[in-house]
Subunit: 653 residues, 3 copies
């Protein structure tokens, strides 16, 4: 862990060299420590094949270094120059409709194309050699936003060949594949691996096991692509962190897997754009149009802290209006500060604003920066400066405190229910985030766990919902855990080959959980069925279960909704917000978890002796100090809109 610091994304190639010096000086003045450069500069670094032009970027590092700034150097592999397409015409990906995705924007490459992968190894090695020993170098970024713009999946000949090879390694024999996929079903049996095509443009849906294997294969290619770069960069500088900037809300590949070859996980946080493109109801979109959804950023911070083995950066932080949503509102004054503080609360080491100066040209010209296109400060310039000062004055350090509640988040489960929603709009993530919001409403610190978690020791409550399939580690963790476990609907409803398990969902040993899902009743989420005792309703997904467990909540039609067997709880239906809250409240009461009394719109998290409050509301809010607080390092009980309050915690709290 490094001391919390600010960063910024900078493109020296966009500006006259004469400007670099004053840009660097002003960055230092703001209090910025890290500057990301390089990730889109390939055509300037190698304008024609083999013509390496690294001097200018080294000069820019010299300038930055002179002002005490550390450089995060991005490999430029997300934007191969146009001549690369001449060399490898088939390196362009093919979309789900069978169309080659042309040159002229970014991410125009196919993860399955091994020729391009070699070119990336080449340029990465050359750059590592050229700048790896530069004194200003502080870290590496691999590529940029893997998968953004739907680029994880390609339906190209390269992808088909790669998939066939991957399948042959996974299954060994074509009979094993036929069996695993259930190909007997519609005479879909193959005679040879080279007959397998990709699951697009079929007459009707593909076998779900085929669709899932294609996603696993594609995810593996992203991980292999990253490992290729990681190995080169670590070999050069074992001491420097290798980071990738994941895109928020993006789940098409397994981020845990990719992070096996990363030192730090970072993500790109655009709260207002993310809310705009979300499925939130219109009233939420309007209420928070200038702030972003209050739990979304926090969830990602906690998720990427898990992805990053405890280390997280925000590599790109929205500073003002962006350009890519349907509507792009101006943030409330103070939000650029709030978002940074919230990230630090959840353990961020660095929050790096995107970008230094708004570019007046090309695709992102309407995306704000810390500077306006005319080099005058934009609002975020001053807010960043304030954050830098406050970081110093509060002395925040350490890492995010370990949570009392843990939620399992699983990329494969996202894919599974996209492949087979059974109820339109059913997703793993929405179920996890609903629980996240319900626990967080009480100011409880939450950790996210990967499905590979081997133990739940140290948590009071662990919740697993909508999980595609169990693995041995997770079963063991549940079995050995002496805390409370909530298992949500649809969990364990499939085996790893996307088949219904012989014991039926949720498929846990009956001594652990005596529940069998006989069938599923899915419906329009507007159709709600109240639960007895009030406080919510089931909707969207309802399981008809057989159980000998104790019924805690049932719906007005008499179907069990929440049952318990010892400390294991099973929720047999999706619920509306009130029901999810009722379940979370029930568990919090059962384990007697300490809570924080939060006004509407306010959220908090603790980090190493501090509790940071942020006010996402558009009006003032008044805090009720929690029992473990001993005063304020920043702000106080009265929080304005977009306000931040940092409370000090009693030692040992």
């Amino acid at each position: 862990m490094i001391t919390p610091a600010l960063g910024v994304c900078y493109y020296p190639e966009h500006w006259p060299e004469a400007w670099w010096e004053s840009d660097a000086a002003r960055m230092a003045e703001v209090g910025i420590k890290y500057v990301r450069i390089g990730e889109f500069a390939w055509s300037k670094l190698e304008p024609t094949p083999g013509d390496l032009q690294f001097d200018w970027i080294i000069r820019s590092m010299d300038v930055l270094g002179r002002h005490g700034l550390k450089v995060v150097f991005g490999t430029p592999t997300a934007t191969p120059p146009r001549w690369m397409i001449d060399k490898h015409p088939d390196m362009l990906a093919v979309d789900v409709n069978g169309k080659r995705r042309g040159f002229g924007s970014r991410r125009h490459y196919d993860f399955s194309h091994l020729g391009y992968r070699e070119e990336c190894a080449r340029i990465t090695q050359l750059l590592a050699d050229a700048v790896g020993d530069h004194p200003a170098l502080g870290g590496w970024q691999t590529d940029n936003e893997y998968g953004c713009h739907d680029t994880t999946y390609s339906y190209s000949p390269a992808a088909q060949a790669g998939f066939q090879h991957w399948l042959s390694e996974k299954y060994g024999t074509i009979d094993a594949l036929n069996h695993a996929w259930g190909n007997v079903f519609w005479s879909m049996e193959y005679n040879r691996f080279d007959q397998v095509e990709l699951p697009n443009l079929l007459v009707t849906e593909a076998a779900p096991a085929q669709a899932l294997d294609f996603r696993r294969y594609s995810s593996d290619q992203v991980a292999a692509f990253n490992k290729m770069q990681y190995d080169i960069l670590k070999a050069k500088r074992p001491d420097l962190p290798v980071i990738h900037n994941f895109m928020g809300r993006y789940t098409d590949f397994d981020h845990y897997d990719v992070a096996e070859t990363l030192d730090v996980a970072s993500w790109d946080s655009y709260p207002i754009g993310f809310l705009a493109i979300s499925d939130e109801p219109d009233e939420v979109k309007r209420q928070y149009m200038r702030q972003g959804e209050p739990d979304l950023q926090a969830f990602h911070h906690d998720l990427y802290r898990a992805v990053g083995h405890g280390r997280i950066w925000i590599m790109e932080q929205q500073p003002g209006p962006v350009n890519w949503a349907q509507y792009n509102p101006d943030p409330l004054p103070g939000m650029a500060r709030l978002w940074a503080w919230e990230a630090f609360a959840h353990g961020a080491e660095v929050v790096s604003y995107f970008r230094w100066r708004q570019a007046p040209f090309a695709q992102e010209q309407m995306h704000a920066g810390l500077l306006r296109p005319d080099s005058e400060p934009a609002p975020a310039y001053h807010e960043a400066m304030q954050v830098a000062e406050e970081l110093k004055s509060t002395g925040i350090a350490g890492n995010a405190s370990k949570g009392r509640v843990a939620l399992v988040y699983d990329y494969e489960s996202e894919w599974a229910w996209q492949i087979q929603p059974q109820a339109k709009g059913y997703t793993h993530g929405a179920h996890v985030r609903a629980l996240y919001a319900a626990f967080r409403k009480h100011g409880v610190d939450i950790d996210i766990l990967p499905p590979s978690a081997k133990s739940f020791v140290g948590y009071d409550i662990v919740a697993i919902t909508s999980l595609f399939t169990w693995n041995d580690d997770l079963r063991t963790a549940i079995t050995e855990f002496d805390g409370h476990v909530l298992i949500g609907p649809r969990s364990g409803s499939k085996d790893e080959n996307f088949a219904i398990p012989a014991a039926l969902a949720p498929s846990l040993p009956s001594n652990l959980l005596d529940v069998k899902v006989m069938r599923v009743d899915s419906s329009d989420p507007n159709v709600e069925v109240e639960v007895r005792g009030g406080g919510g309703a089931v909707r969207h997904w309802r399981e008809r279960i057989e159980t000998k467990a104790k019924v805690i909540i049932e719906d007005v039609e008499g179907w069990p909704v929440l049952v318990s067997q010892g400390k294991l709880y099973y929720q047999a239906a999706s619920g509306n917000k009130a029901l999810t809250q009722r379940v979370a409240d029930y568990l919090i009461a059962e384990v007697d978890l300490p809570t924080v009394n939060l006004p509407a719109g306010v959220r908090c998290r603790t980090r190493d002796g501090f509790r940071i409050y942020v006010n996402y509301g558009a009006g003032n809010a008044t805090l009720t100090p929690a029992a473990d607080e001993v005063g304020y390092a920043l702000g106080g009980v009265d929080m304005p809109a977009a306000g931040v309050t940092v409370a000090r915690l009693a030692k040992g709290a």
Copy 2:
């Protein structure tokens, strides 16, 4: 006609051979008589080209036969194995966007591909020879759900060549085609038949006559495909029925034409899924989400009884939640029984549940069966058993009674108004079904007639609405009929070449009907114009007519809506539900038709001495016994939700 019986769809290839015996025993225990097998088993019957593996399926027939079960053997041509694509790479259809539709699901073939048609003749002949004399054999099914997943139309080179040939046979000279299609209009004249391309991917819409001819051609290919199989199967066993299982709500080819080479028409009935994908308003979708739309199944039964020359089966009956709609609700308890009873009321010989055991793997793993995946009974298991017992106890037999009202339903009219709606959403079927529901509300038995009907003798009322074009038989039937005929809007508005007839719509001799449609006023269906005297409104489609006929109903703007000339009635506008009811009520009163007083949600039909009532409502209903009833064979006046009551009719009633 055979005695009403139950059936089930079974896939011995999906289960260990060791399970077959107990499966068969339990089927017999339920009271099942017919078991459909084989229709998706090609890759097991011929794993590689020419390697015929028929033993296992014969052994399965042995087992089923030992338990008194009769086998309906399905030809496996809807799912050619993967090696077939190696042999005939161009047998895959091409979608309307020009994309080849790949292997990996089902129905991956092009009706125009003659090489594949030969392969189908080969396997059909081989199977006919192998199992044709098996003592358990009770009938054949050809292919499976022709056209499902938009597979009637292919835009492939094979289809183009076939279409050009078909056109040259139809028109003889290219001049005749140019004239028929009106190609002078935009210089669309062809010099040779080989210049004609398919009507997809044009700059703007194709000439409607071209679009219609392409649909006629495509429909003819389905009929030819079926005839090829029929001829082989009948040659082997002239005594056994050849059946096809049509898909409900599917109209892309002419089912009457295909049924020219069928002995029985069957259809696949999924009431809840059909309602979910229908255009019904949201409140109807919610009201009947666990039952299905109350008139849709009945309409299909009556339609397929006409298609099947009086003989109808339900080859696939929904038993519980399905997997293919956006939401897939659990049926109300009792619906699997109700749907079967309703089918029998409308003349079904066999109602066959789909499927025996829920398959835990592949595309339909969330589709319920009579058994759960763990082989425990699902609710429909018990409901089917109850039906089997009730069939016996009531002694129902014979066929559906001849209707008093007949409605003409015409596939070509469906195509015509899809090609040229003129008012978005205007369809032939919706107009026919609206009248169907209006007459059925009074408990009147209805028959569906094909447009090839030569006589209306025996009916009190015949209604023809939204008919594309007259043919000579239909004109004769009208002229010679002494009952009441209602002709609905848009009828006869085109000649067979999709041109406005010289006499203008409805184009009947003026001594028969002196009406001329001067022009059409189409509008958003939400814009309603009340009719004088109340009781409804015109909407969507309004004709400005000149007429000397007597005006019975006019709208508040003074335009005639219903006129009569003797017993011939013309309705010059589409109406809302109330107006359609008013028109039906008027005709029922005119001919003094006996009616049944039905509570909301309850429907009925008579079959050979019985009147069967079914309650689609979610609550109780109380019947008022009709004058011709002499008691109850099943149930009584008090009907629970999903209830069935069978009344006995007085002899001669």
Copy 3:
């Protein structure tokens, strides 16, 4: 200018030659003077390559001429015959998805295909030679509705090659192009012009400068295509007008540029269809479903009068229900008269109804004509006759009076904000039309100006809104103008390379307008922020400006909305209808502009001594005579629905 007259579109090739004589006689009887023929007749004029069959069309001109009718001869290049595709298979355009757009409808050609352009020159020359000296000839039409059915843009190899060449001529060096497009941004730099591909099917959006250049290139091809025909036709008959019939609501190419080689601009006016496919709210669509939007036709008349250098025809006027909208209502009785009168009020020389007789066959069979398919008069027949008589009786002549208010309309600005809306649905045209409606509400005559206007002399108010970029002429016109100028939001926000100008928007000299747009706040148009003083709200697009100008209107959050600096006004936000009206009212009051008191639904314009009122309302309206009126040439103060009143103006008014 010619004396106002009626015309009609006629297709002699659609009817037996025996009918021509009586058709012509009846046209004359109606009072028609101009008959357009020929524009879709290529396959009859040249049935096979080189087989010229011009006799029949010359005979049809003979017949028309005998009845005193003048022929507008349309070149048939919008519908090349099928054999042309055999000769030039690559002449078919390619859609944005990469699909060749097939033969079988119309406009199936690629503007970039030079081989087809030569064929068009050939047939144009042959026809000019054959009919150019015919005594009945009164003018020419080039092609038909350039761009209709999305045919301006093609993504074909021909278009790519043409684009590359156009770019090389525009930029000279690839470095200049890279710089202009900002290609450094994502390593999008090209090494050679032949690497540039078209901006479709990319991974994400193209650089906006690339997208705009492609639109400029494509627009230039339309202009070059028209010039080719114009040069031939003018060389043959310098005395006759060459006209093109532009399609209403269509903006994909620059109509001003195309009209550089036209003598008259005409447009095709389908008021009801245009409203149906517009973005107007549902209540407006219902209120005017039988009339069309009351300001849309007028706006187009004024626009095309500008496009046509003062000369405008309506080449196709809707006569009754059409066939191409989702719903196609019958117009109110009288609308075919009203639309013609409104066109004459705005300066039309000829209003030509489309079409003479409704065609019973092919794509437009549901499109009304002056005659029904059975040759009986349709309602518009009588309405046209009435108009012809009224033109005579009123003696209307001259041209539309010069407006007091002028609005700049710019095609490039339409493209720019389609390429980069930043707020979904933001368009140049909607902003211009909102101001148009606000000024017109007061009966003020309005002119439209092209962005190439060099002077505003003679106007009281000039409004420029949402203008992409300034040019030198426009800057000069503003600087030298002593009237009032309103500059709307987003104006001048880009330079010609689609980059934010160094001075930031609106980028006028600060002595003229001291305003700087710091950033943009865009939002869902349903989110409104009231302005102080009431009377409207800002929405959709709000600029955060720095200014030293005088604030006239500000919003309740304190942001300036309307500021002034001398007679220059800047509006810094989009407004709702009320705000736009408040701004227009403010300016009208400032310059003390005479207004007309108009009832709801009524609109007016003056033409050479007359003020023509039209009532788009569905009920009666009563006029308040204006001070400059001295009596009525037609109608009076009481106007029925669809009524027309023509007031005489005092001399010199």
